[in-house]
Symmetry: C2
Subunit: 248 residues, 2 copies
DNA sequence: TACAGTTGTCTAGATCAATAGACATTTAGG
DNA sequence: CCTAAATGTCTATTGATCTAGACAACTGTA
């Protein structure tokens, strides 16, 4: 289906600047492959006409995208697309971070931001089915693909069963391996809840997002094969770098 | 865990107006139940201090939320919360729209916006495993719960197998029943891909969203029990009214 | 070299967003 | 009946956003 050259409307007086709306639309078009034929963004004058705004407004949008490293403008030639990918991340009964990304990224980085021992509280305690007040290990991490941050997580593990979680994770760089080091060889995803919202300040900095960006937040529980919960985690994905593939 | 009274930072010069950022944050707090104790939003002066902005800016944010019908301000008393729900929508092998919402909403509405017969094209044809150019039935719908729009869909069905899809759907108000009318009693979800992004103009109007709002877009394929695809659909959910529960 | 097409830069003005302060109006409670 | 606390309204000012137009600088091609 040839994509319709549909009118590219932007809304005024909405609290979202036109240049940001336009930047979002162009980013989407790039990731949809709309400009693959030329590898370039249409000329500023053309975009200005399509969106019904002044050329300067389009320039602000392109400047923001150039700032993200998504495009690069060359005087006299045009604005070239530098990057267009959106990584696909599978969510299934056997969700494993590094396996899922597979060949989409050459190099996967995981960084342990910090860890702590905290008492179980309402929501998290209930999800892990531990008695209130019992100790949990909390891990905070950021994961990236080819140097670009993709997600940030806060995860909780029962401290009595996985006492060395932080150390093993720091050493092995993988939750799956850290579980294995505690004698747990297999686990499955029990539940996942998804919400999309604007990123908060801390998420902007952790994920290196431009302000106003969107995150998808997944709250998930993993359990061992007996159905006993072993992990509760809250992962926030950079929405414009990822799509989630749900395998049922 | 008692929620930390963490500093509520808003970012300036980002192309997203402060009042809109604050409106988004308050909306999130309402849906998180942060204000359940009183049923009211904190006083404007308090919010202004928390966010580090002028009271007038907070007032703009609250005016936007009042416009959505989320809160109602009463002079001399305060700003009361009118609505706080975020509907949970399950995605599983047997995703059925109306069943999933269950008791969360009293009244489910589905409206057929229009239908058409279109030739199968690249992506959609491949997903449905039909030969290129063969005919598909396209349905465009909006679904709502208790009068609030929750999602809008575009769906495709092979015309040779489900020739009366549009008529049956219009009559029965349900895809499951329309399938049954064609002799298909059961079907399962094969794949789902999820993306979150800012809503486009058309989506804003269909879902009655305030500009700058977020939609979650799910592209899904359903198949009969022999694995033959019967439906390709693209559903956009109003992100601030829904959360998706993924059942694996 | 000439030229068309493109991005880069500058100036000026109009509109929107945010701050600041003052005061009015309404409500609930002592 | 007061008063404290809350929202409602008004004016003025500053900075960010958007429009408008003109022209400079660079690229590729004829």
């Amino acid at each position: 289906m040839k994509r319709m050259a549909l009118k590219k409307i932007v809304e005024r007086q909405t609290g979202v600047a036109l240049w940001r709306q336009i930047a979002d639309r162009i980013r989407l078009s790039i990731s949809n492959g709309d400009y693959d034929a030329t590898g370039m963004v249409p000329p500023e004058t053309v975009l200005a006409q399509e969106f019904g705004v002044n050329r300067h407004t389009v320039r602000s949008a392109l400047a923001a995208l150039a700032d993200e490293g998504l495009v690069r403008a060359v005087q006299g030639r045009g604005t070239m697309i530098e990057r267009k990918d959106r990584v696909s991340y599978p969510i299934s009964r056997r969700t494993r971070f590094s396996q899922g990304l597979g060949r989409q990224v050459k190099e996967i980085g995981t960084r342990l931001l910090g860890h702590a021992e905290v008492p179980a509280s309402g929501e998290i305690g209930a999800a892990l089915a531990v008695s209130p007040g019992s100790l949990l290990i909390e891990l905070r991490t950021v994961s990236s693909g080819d140097g670009r941050p993709l997600s940030t997580s806060v995860s909780y593990y029962p401290a009595d069963r996985f006492p060395r979680m932080a150390e093993e994770y720091a050493l092995l760089g993988s939750v799956t391996k850290a579980f294995a080091a505690h004698g747990l060889d297999d686990y499955v995803r029990v539940s996942t809840e998804l919400v999309a919202r604007h990123a908060e300040a801390q998420e902007l900095s952790l994920l290196q997002l431009s302000p106003g960006a969107i995150v998808m937040e997944a709250q998930s529980v993993n359990a061992d094969l007996d159905g006993k919960p072993v992990e509760y985690s809250r992962t926030r994905f950079a929405a414009d770098r990822m799509k989630l593939r749900i395998e049922t």
